[in-house]
């Protein structure tokens, strides 16, 4: 009746996951009770859960990423403590638990923190920057989000029901095959990623279509803000790369469920085929994450320097070059498999070539600052911190692209330090910069600057104290994923790294405090103009938070930095707004399709993991039926009458008169 599921799946003998799970469960129940008792449920359902508004979906993506950041961060703290104490001893985590933790940490941080954070920011901002009313497929957008949430939920369920993979975040076979990982851990891993992978793919299709097909008047390709370009590049990569991940995991699942032999040791299975396929997705994946971050930094550096982006066309070229070349370097993840020197050298050099456009980007940000009038608000601090940190990560990245150096550093703590250097220093700093920068746009009030700056400095310093010692440990021969060790020279560096992660945690706490303090002081921090940073692109041309239709009129774009030019023109010609003729606006209706579909997908995923076949069929039929019902809908749009549009827009125009801009001043 319940497949492999029985009471032994609950880890009664392991207090840590049980207590953690219980705390999370209590917290969720507490929040739910509060919502129901206070009568917020209809609001939550009507305005958020069923929302197809790209801004709301973007906010929910970021909320998901933030919650999962805390989960992944807890894993990180546990790992650093384990390695600090497990010298000539077993530490406090037995191998079967430690191995789950580092696997979950990697999986969560990449798929359920970094991905939803950047996708959330793209969702929130790109339609506004393009001057349009929504993404191309609003309901699909909601489906994509909820499927991602399903994946995250399943990963968390594995904490208390069964186990998570103990194979590392990429689940290399043959270790991940049934013979060596007979438990449900790898199944949790694979089905979570299959379901959330569908969500990511539809988000990618949606954003590519939005950028290619839905731009406002005059917004041709070479007038798009840089963030739109990096969004396009990143989502093209999603569309091209995620099917590879899906196919690879599908093959692994066929091996595990139906006795196929794609990657097994026997019967012609080939382990290295998995390696090739997973990295053919995995390397583009890192650019999927970091390109949007590059876009965020481009917006932030330009805005806070009070200058247009230096070398805009060069930046576009560099972005698209990275997009293409990132597909041609995957083999550098396994130079040590013993391929010939020609193969290694060619992939090594191809990997270095990516450093050229990346370097160009750094220099273009540098020259954007040159001659600027730089305001060091929190987003700008993150950006300068990023530039310095990312260069170091780039250096070590090019270093491991040199095959003979990689023969010493592959899989070492040096490598661990390298990719945290670029993912924290690049993606996470970018996500935080974007969060601080666009928060006022999403909610209509700024975040507290003092706590924001404290968060930056603790995170920045904490990063260096945590990861510089790992570089050194790698140089001392330490490999990754060691549950314990006997080498005395590694010990001091593990202790320093544990101190570093404490400093990093203070940074995260500051961020939480910042959010709480800012919400409490929201009236004092209120931004009524919609343009708190003297912005340059169209998202600042509408009110904060924007009305559901974003713009009363599709803006007319006449150059790069569209909104900056509007402000400059208004100032120079002292043009007053003519009284415009407002029209009715049609907007898509909210739809529970995404939530219901994900609900059934969760049931199906859970049932697949535990081999509960009747429930698999139930979930599958449910998810399919949801789609069919949606496809048969009659009315999917509603009309906002012109008078209402006019009323909302007039308020915005009034507030904007008080705006002081540098635009057109020089």
């Amino acid at each position: 009746m319940l497949g492999k599921l029985d009471w032994s799946a609950i880890p009664i003998d392991q207090p840590i996951p049980l207590v953690a799970g219980a705390v999370v469960l209590v917290a969720i129940l507490g929040v739910l009770t509060w919502v129901v008792v206070k009568g917020h449920l209809p609001y939550l359902w009507g305005e958020w859960i069923t929302s197809v508004d790209h801004k709301r979906i973007g906010v929910m993506y970021i909320l998901l990423a933030s919650v999962m950041l805390l989960r992944g961060g807890s894993d990180a703290i546990m790992m650093r403590i384990q390695q600090a104490v497990a010298y000539q001893s077993q530490g406090y985590l037995p191998p079967e638990h430690y191995n789950q933790i580092f696997s979950a940490h990697g999986t969560i941080m990449i798929f359920f923190v970094a991905m939803p954070f950047v996708i959330g920011l793209m969702n929130l901002v790109v339609p506004l920057q393009l001057g349009v009313r929504d993404v191309a497929f609003p309901t699909l957008n909601s489906v994509g989000f909820w499927l991602t949430a399903t994946g995250a939920l399943l990963v968390n369920v594995s904490l208390v029901v069964g186990e998570f993979a103990r194979t590392g975040w990429l689940a290399f076979p043959p270790l991940s095959e049934l013979a060596y990982s007979p438990g449900v851990g790898v199944d949790y891993y694979a089905w979570s990623l299959q379901i959330s992978g569908v969500g990511t793919l539809v988000a990618g299709i949606n954003l590519v279509t939005t950028v290619l097909k839905l731009r406002t008047r005059g917004m041709n390709y070479l007038r798009m803000p840089m963030f739109c370009w990096t969004t396009l590049a990143s989502n093209l990569l999603i569309v091209a790369a995620f099917p590879i991940l899906t196919a690879t995991l599908a093959m692994l699942l066929l091996d595990r469920y139906l006795g196929f032999h794609f990657f097994t040791n026997e019967a012609g299975g080939n382990v290295m085929m998995f390696m090739n396929l997973i990295w053919a997705w995995g390397h583009p994946e890192v650019y999927i994450l970091v390109l949007p971050a590059f876009g965020i930094f481009s917006e932030v550096v330009s805005t806070f320097s009070g200058k247009a982006l230096f070398g805009y066309r060069s930046m576009v070229l560099a972005t698209m070059a990275i997009c293409v070349i990132s597909f041609m370097v995957w083999l550098h993840h396994f130079f040590t498999m013993g391929a010939g020197p020609d193969v290694n050298a060619i992939f090594g050099i191809a990997s270095m070539i990516i450093a050229i456009p990346t370097g160009v980007k750094i220099y273009n940000w540098l020259f954007t600052m040159y001659g600027g009038r730089i305001r060091f608000a929190t987003p700008m601090l993150w950006s300068v911190g990023f530039m310095v940190t990312f260069i170091i990560g780039g250096l070590t990245g090019v270093l491991v692209a040199v095959p003979p150096a990689d023969f010493m550093l592959h899989n070492s703590m040096f490598l661990v330090a390298h990719f945290h250097n670029v993912i924290i220093g690049g993606v996470l700093f970018g996500a935080f910069a974007g969060f601080e920068y666009w928060f006022p746009k999403a909610f209509g009030f700024r975040l507290d600057e003092r706590w924001g700056k404290a968060a930056f400095w603790f995170t920045f310093l904490g990063f260096y104290v945590t990861f510089m010692p790992l570089y050194i440990a790698g140089m001392l021969g330490m490999t990754r994923r060691m549950q314990h060790y006997d080498v005395a020279s590694w010990r001091p560096w593990m202790i320093v790294a544990a101190v570093g992660v404490a400093v990093l945690s203070i940074g995260v706490i500051c961020q939480i405090v910042q959010l709480v303090v800012s919400i409490r002081n929201r009236e004092a921090l209120r931004d009524r103009t919609g343009d708190p940073w003297d912005g340059r692109s169209l998202e600042w041309a509408t009110s904060s938070p924007p009305p559901v239709f974003n713009f009363a009129f599709n803006p007319d774009v006449r150059g790069e930095d569209a909104y900056w030019e509007m402000k400059a023109r208004a100032r120079q010609q002292s043009l007053e707004h003519e009284v415009p003729e407002y029209q009715d606006i049609e907007m898509p209706r909210n739809s529970p399709t995404g939530f219901v579909c994900a609900f059934f997908a969760t049931i199906m995923g859970f049932a697949l993991i535990w081999h509960i076949w009747w429930m698999v069929i139930l979930g599958g039929i449910g998810a399919f039926a949801t789609f069919v019902v949606f496809a048969w809908r009659d009315h999917d749009e509603y009309v906002i009458p012109a008078e209402q549009v006019a009323a909302i827009d007039r308020v915005n125009i009034e507030e904007r008169r008080s705006l002081v801009s540098m635009a057109g001043a020089v």
Partner: protein
């Protein structure tokens, strides 16, 4: 285990390239970081001496320079990578004094088996080699992937079931080194560290003779016991019964290791593959 303290020519070559590459990159990285901090500081809004130039958004000369600097660096480093990959190819010969020593390494769950086919002996978790001689490694795995790595001798390489990788090394100085597995392989992975005893070329034959006198014999049966998952704290040695043992393992004539014992595991509906032959 310091990578910058190489004990053989391969590690010396690797670490020279490592250090050289870092210095080549530091030449542009350090000035760039200084420029970032310098520009950010000088052009702060509160500095009245800094000139505001909002129209400085394109310069052909600057573009030329910013594309050239990374491109030239990569051309230089690309040369280093190309030459280095060929000179330090793991399978490239590493000439040494005396006759080369053939060693066949098998990663087991979770221990290392070193077979000396010419000497007809085998050891677990200890590698004894003569200083100065070329060491010809052939490597495979009994079950899951591992990576064979002696940091101070250089160049790690994967071990994979059903496949053989090749690696040539040389240890120049007598002494004790440590090796490890550099690819996660399951619960016992951290206990896959092994000792490397580099002995004098004269002492090596003595060690071989002593080892060959042991009672324990390594044949297909004892190997199957070794394949069981487990950690080996001791340092057992064996006489080698059949010098073709490694080939039998690599060609899967001896089936892969069994993985975890599944006495109580009801939910394993498919054979998974141990029936393959």
């Amino acid at each position: 285990m310091n990578l910058l303290d190489p004990q053989g020519p391969v590690a010396a070559g690797n670490s020279t390239i490592l250090v050289d590459s870092v210095f080549i990159m530091l030449v542009i990285v350090v000035p760039t970081i200084i420029a970032i901090l310098g520009f950010a500081f000088w052009f702060r809004a509160s500095n009245p001496k800094a000139r505001y130039q909002p129209h400085f958004v394109y310069s052909g000369r600057v573009e030329m320079v910013v594309w050239s600097i990374p491109a030239l660096t990569v051309i230089l480093l690309g040369g280093v990578a190309w030459i280095g990959s060929h000179q330090l190819d793991p399978a490239a010969p590493v000439p040494g004094t005396g006759s080369p020593v053939r060693i066949q390494a098998v990663s087991l769950d979770w221990k290392w088996l070193f077979i000396y086919p010419d000497q007809r002996i085998a050891t677990i978790n200890t590698l004894t080699v003569p200083a100065g001689a070329e060491l010809n490694f052939q490597l495979t795995s009994s079950s899951v992937m591992n990576t064979f790595f002696i940091p101070q001798l250089g160049s790690m390489i994967y071990t994979m079931n059903g496949m053989v990788t090749k690696l040539n090394l040389r240890a120049d100085n007598e002494g004790k080194l440590q090796g490890l597995s550099a690819h996660f392989s399951g619960d016992g992975f951290p206990d896959m560290m092994f000792d490397v005893n580099v002995v004098s070329p004269l002492a090596f034959p003595d060690w071989v003779a002593t080892t060959a006198r042991t009672d324990a014999v390594l044949n297909a049966d004892t190997y199957k016991k070794l394949m069981q998952q487990g950690i080996e704290k001791g340092r057992p040695v064996y006489r080698l019964d059949d010098p073709r043992l490694f080939d039998l393992i690599a060609s899967q004539h001896i089936p892969p290791g069994p993985g975890p014992e599944l006495a109580s595991e009801a939910g394993r509906p498919h054979s998974g593959g141990h029936d393959a032959r």
